[in-house]
């Protein structure tokens, strides 16, 4: 017995030690970003780094929100990500429902394409899409980016949602249809409420793609006032000459906060979504 307890103790100590090391690695950049966003210039450029600001200031936020287009970038990102999410929700729900409930020709090929479709090199897809969207006058428009992001979210979300729909018993809709519902009515009244967690995971996934994406936005957006946050913050670093880290970190916090809120509320769904297959970072 005593030996058992001692062994268990050793395991706990080892687990804690490792978790402390690894969470220092994963969380330190966030800590550093957050505290630095409240530092005035003298506390940023020091030989001995200041961990916690002694004289916290809102000057960085004030500057970023009032003197730079960061607020504009934020709204651009919010608009692009919201429309992408809504579009992806409608399209993936329809597609995933068909894949889960109906038998049809090419079902398997479609499945293969959905799984493999998100794995191709981004640059290989970027070049022809850029050429095509230029022809359609969609370069440098929100619509262009929204189309690209919806496409990016579609394959994996559809596959993930199909997996979730498979776990919802078919009898649910069948009995609703026997009771006189049309199929659409049965889906809306009975099926969707049950499938909500899977749909929430898709929303989270689509929003994250649109919120974080960089390469396509960098290539497609020419006008500064149309930049989403990811391109905006990089542009701002580029023009700032010697990098004013306090301001950049305040901007970084603005980018991360919506994701963080989502993360705290939807962590469970995110994990179930991730493990249903995989999620592109």
């Amino acid at each position: 017995m005593e030996q058992f307890v001692r062994r268990r103790l050793v395991r706990y100590v080892l687990a804690y030690a490792w978790l402390l090391i690894i969470s220092t690695f994963t969380a330190f950049p966030f800590f550093w970003m957050l505290t630095s966003s409240f530092k005035a210039r003298p506390e940023i450029f020091t030989r001995i780094p200041v961990l916690i600001p002694q004289e916290p200031t809102l000057a960085n936020y004030n500057y970023v929100l009032n003197e730079t287009p960061a607020g504009r970038y934020f709204l651009n990102s919010l608009y692009i990500a919201t429309v992408t999410t809504l579009l992806a929700l409608v399209l993936t729900t329809l597609g995933a429902y068909a894949l889960s409930r109906f038998q049809f020709r090419m079902r398997r090929s479609l499945g293969v394409w959905l799984i493999a479709g998100q794995m191709f090199p981004g640059v290989l897809m970027l070049i022809p899409l850029f050429v095509t969207l230029t022809r359609l006058n969609l370069v440098n428009t929100y619509a262009g980016l929204i189309i690209v992001y919806t496409m990016g979210a579609l394959p994996f979300s559809t596959w993930m949602l199909k997996g979730y729909f498979d776990t919802v018993p078919r009898e649910l809709e069948d009995s609703a249809m026997i009771d006189g519902c049309s199929r659409v009515g049965a889906i809306r009244r009975v099926f969707l409420p049950v499938a909500a967690p899977g749909i929430a995971a898709v929303a989270l996934f689509a929003f994250t793609i649109a919120w974080q994406e960089f390469m396509f936005a960098l290539t497609m957006m020419k006008d500064q006032e149309k930049y989403p946050l990811s391109v905006g913050i990089n542009f701002f670093v580029g023009i700032a000459g010697s990098v004013v880290w306090g301001n950049i970190m305040a901007m970084a916090v603005l980018i991360i906060v919506p994701g963080l809120i989502f993360f705290l509320f939807l962590q469970r769904y995110m994990i179930s979504g991730l493990t249903a297959g995989a999620v592109k970072g």
């Binding site: 394409w113 880290w245 297959g277």
Partner: protein
């Protein structure tokens, strides 16, 4: 739907059409078409077009396409001083990231699988890089790596591991490793989540049975944990490989391929050729080579996922 509202008799042809459209063999396509058409237009078409472009010389401005056969590929593999270096970097980068991410993810998920207090907090902390866009991660780490004011040099000098400031991203010897750290940071949450989910399917009784049969900690790890993690582990490794191989964002922001092309990856090389030098066909050829190299992991991954379903 009430039938009375449809009491006006339909012409026969229309009726047949309506019957055919509501046929249960066609119904799936109503649901599928809105998904499949954009999918075909936006993934199949660009892919085929991208492969086609690799065999052309394409001018973005006068939209002049000339088929040149395999010229781009010959040029790349025989004349381009950058290509083989970028390929080697890409392979080192990918293998390094995959191995380290897997090992760190394995230890972390094993620790998180222990029933310890504050487990939820630690799990949250381990997963948090997932919410950080690659660009923001790159900028924050760039500052941590800063030779004069960065946290890393300060910490390492305090511990006594180094005795002078290192310009992690500016030094040809350290730049690739530094960019790898940022990518590992970003990919770790995925690895942890997958492996933790795998571990949680391992029944506790197996370990107890193993202990009774005299297996030590290492023995149980080797003969129970590792084989049972086989499936999720495979998926985690394949996906990390594909993502790392295709990666662009954080390296572009951290170094842009420098210093002295030591962090030049194939995706960066392709991007610069396309959008800085406007060599669209040439850039597509780099993309096609990436695709060819990825075919094996993509196939294995797809097969694995389909196998799990059926």
């Amino acid at each position: 739907m009430s039938t009375k509202s449809l009491s006006v008799p339909m012409p026969e042809g229309l009726e047949r059409l309506s019957r055919r459209l509501s046929n249960r063999h066609i119904t799936p396509y109503y649901y599928l078409l809105p998904t499949v058409i954009p999918l075909l237009l936006l993934t199949v078409y660009p892919l085929l077009r991208g492969i086609y472009l690799a065999f052309t010389q394409y001018n973005l401005y006068n939209k002049d396409t000339t088929l040149v056969g395999t010229l781009n590929f010959i040029e790349l593999t025989t004349n381009d001083t950058l290509f083989w270096g970028a390929l080697a970097n890409n392979i080192i980068w990918t293998v390094g990231i995959v191995v380290i991410t897997y090992v760190l993810g394995l230890f972390t998920s094993i620790a998180l699988n222990e029933n310890i207090p504050l487990r939820g907090l630690f799990r949250g902390l381990a997963l948090i890089p997932w919410v950080c866009p690659a660009v923001v991660a790159a900028l924050t780490w760039r500052w941590i790596f800063d030779p004069h004011f960065g946290m890393l040099n300060y910490a390492l000098m305090e511990i006594g591991l180094i005795d002078r400031q290192i310009g992690w991203l500016g030094d040809k010897n350290t730049a690739l490793a530094a960019t790898m750290i940022v990518a590992i940071w970003k990919l770790l949450p995925f690895s942890v989540v997958m492996l933790l989910a795998g571990l949680q399917t391992v029944p506790e009784e197996l370990y107890e049975a193993g202990a009774i049969d005299g297996a030590g900690v290492l023995g149980r790890f080797r003969y129970i944990t590792v084989p049972l993690l086989n499936r999720v582990g495979k998926i985690a490794i394949l996906l990390t490989t594909i993502w790392a191989f295709n990666h662009f964002d954080s390296v572009y922001v951290l170094t842009g391929g420098g210093p002295g092309d030591t962090t030049m990856l194939l995706s960066i090389m392709s991007y610069l050729n396309a959008f800085r030098f406007f060599k669209i066909g040439y850039a597509s050829a780099v993309g096609v080579i990436m695709l060819i190299l990825l075919l094996l992991p993509i196939t294995l991954y797809t097969r694995q996922v389909l196998e799990d379903v059926e």
